[in-house]
């Protein structure tokens, strides 16, 4: 820097102070914001439901009826068909996540929110649902009806 450029050292000194002050303030602001941003994120919920749940007891359902049960943190739908076979599916509609129900009159699964219809195998047959419902395995253990996630082979 030349000696004849009088005001320059003064401005560069001012600039340096500005950078230090501004940088310091930004750094402290970041140190306040970081914990707050982390705080906003809720801790993950431990899903204690596991892969298997007792959905009902034998005799709870009459033929051609359905029942909502808890599968982990989400609802499941257990159906006793008029053929006497148990079926279990996810009860969360694939359209906008309403909880579906079994309609004995239609013998189909119906979502009341937007009139979506699935057949007993969970296939989306009419209305807005884009995908079939997840189907679960059902087996009997004594008089308990046990529902579990299908194991991928």
């Amino acid at each position: 820097m030349c000696a004849d450029q009088g005001p320059q050292p003064e401005t560069s000194r001012r600039r340096a102070i500005e950078i230090f002050l501004g940088g310091g303030l930004l750094a402290s602001l970041a140190s306040f914001l970081y914990p707050v941003l982390r705080y906003f994120v809720p801790p993950a919920v431990i899903d204690l439901g596991g892969d298997e749940v007792v959905a009902a007891k034998v005799g709870d359902l009459t033929a051609n009826s359905g029942k909502i049960f808890r599968f982990g943190s989400r609802p499941g739908l257990l159906i006793l068909g008029s053929d006497g076979a148990y079926r279990a599916l996810s009860a969360t509609c694939t359209h906008l996540a309403c909880t579906v129900q079994y309609r004995p009159d239609l013998r189909e699964i119906w979502c009341a929110c937007h009139n979506g219809i699935y057949d007993l195998n969970g296939r989306n047959v009419s209305g807005p649902p884009p995908r079939p419902l997840t189907v679960f395995d059902v087996h009997l253990r004594g008089d308990e009806i046990v529902v579990s996630r299908k194991r991928e082979a």
Partner: protein
């Protein structure tokens, strides 16, 4: 600043920002060797802002209710990331805010800043102090731990001692004859809705008064400056004083952060209405001087119950304290020295009783 220049110009064209801040540009703050005391009101305001922000954060996870409150605070301090820090800051800032409010009040008292024309500033300030103590009292219960449970039981029981209106007042505060989950729900409402609203409005009023009347100067100095106007020293509020104030806020932030991080606030044991009060139970430090006073009054004074006498005495003292400026002389040159004497006595009494209460078994 250059980054914001176009934005500021845009706003200025529409809102006349210069006109908006013009009054602040004319505002000055007297400079003298006691000017430091002017900072404490601002620091108290800063801590209040911290309380609002951290309080909102705590509301993201806190659940009022006897079966959930303790567990939700436990969840905040153990599971939520940095939850312990947010809660610790909220608890520490509450205590620091009450402390700085007391410092601010006594500085106003000793610098005689409450004199005419600032009587209403004093009144609004003392009401703010009482409301802030109400914040402390109501917030203390929210974690629903043993200490808080008994502190609330005793505190509301004291309100119940007042003749005639005492019992209805106690039932109103408790939401029933006993301290239960209903009390927690009420205190939660007071703490997050009623008190913040009142305090925000009153702070605006308080600041408006300060703004209208400017800063007070101690009487001796005022006399000197009136006699010799060239001796008057002032600094501009904007930006000179404001930047100093911000520096004070930054220091307060540092103290608060260090205290909160190094001494995280305890959660204690969950309240159980059917266990005995733990030995050596005491209220928070800012209620200690009243607690100790009540302890020292004999159970019967002449024919009046000691408790009733103590509570009526405290209420009367609180009311007179609120009206203190109206006992001061109207004429600035004839300040009442007994008020300064009373202030010294009050300070010594509050500090002495607090220390005594802290040490007493």
């Amino acid at each position: 600043m250059t980054v914001f220049a176009p934005l500021i110009r845009w706003l200025d064209e529409r809102l006349d920002l210069d006109g908006l801040i013009a009054p602040f540009k004319h505002k000055t703050v007297p400079t003298h060797r006691l000017s430091y005391w002017y900072f404490f009101g601002g620091i108290t305001l800063f801590l209040f802002i911290i309380q609002v922000l951290t309080g909102i954060l705590l509301l993201l996870y806190y659940r009022p209710g006897a079966n959930e409150a303790y567990e939700s605070v436990q969840y905040i301090v153990t599971r939520v990331q940095f939850g312990w820090l947010i809660r610790s800051i909220h608890a520490w800032a509450a205590n620091l805010m009450i402390f700085t409010a007391f410092v601010h009040m006594f500085s106003v008292l000793f610098l005689k800043a409450y004199r005419k024309p600032r009587e209403l500033t004093w009144v609004s300030g003392v009401i703010l102090l009482y409301l802030v103590m109400g914040f402390g009292f109501s917030g203390y219960l929210l974690p629903w731990n043993t200490l808080a449970f008994f502190a609330t039981k005793v505190g509301t029981e004291m309100a119940g001692q007042v003749p005639l209106i005492g019992r209805p007042m106690m039932i109103f505060l408790r939401g029933g004859p006993e301290v239960t989950g209903a009390t927690l729900t009420r205190f939660f409402g007071f703490h997050v809705a009623v008190l913040p609203g009142l305090v925000t409005v009153l702070i605006a009023v308080h600041l408006f008064f300060v703004q209208r009347q400017g800063m007070s100067v101690p009487p001796k100095l005022e006399a000197q400056w009136t006699a010799n106007p060239s001796a008057r020293r002032e600094m501009k509020f904007f930006p000179n004083f404001l930047l100093r104030e911000l520096m004070a806020w930054y220091v307060a932030m540092g103290v608060l952060g260090a205290l909160a991080a190094i001494f995280p606030w305890n959660l204690g044991v969950k309240a159980d209405p059917f266990v005995s009060a733990p030995a050596g139970i005491k209220p928070e430090w800012y209620f200690l001087f009243m607690f100790q006073t009540l302890k020292l009054i004999p159970s019967k004074v002449w024919f009046v119950d000691g408790e009733v006498l103590g509570i009526l005495g405290c209420s009367l003292a609180g009311l007179l304290w609120l009206l203190l400026p109206f006992f001061e002389s109207d004429r600035p040159e004839r300040t009442k020295t007994w008020i300064t004497g009373l202030s010294i006595f009050a300070l010594v009494y509050v500090v002495g009783m607090s220390v005594y209460g802290f040490l007493a078994q």
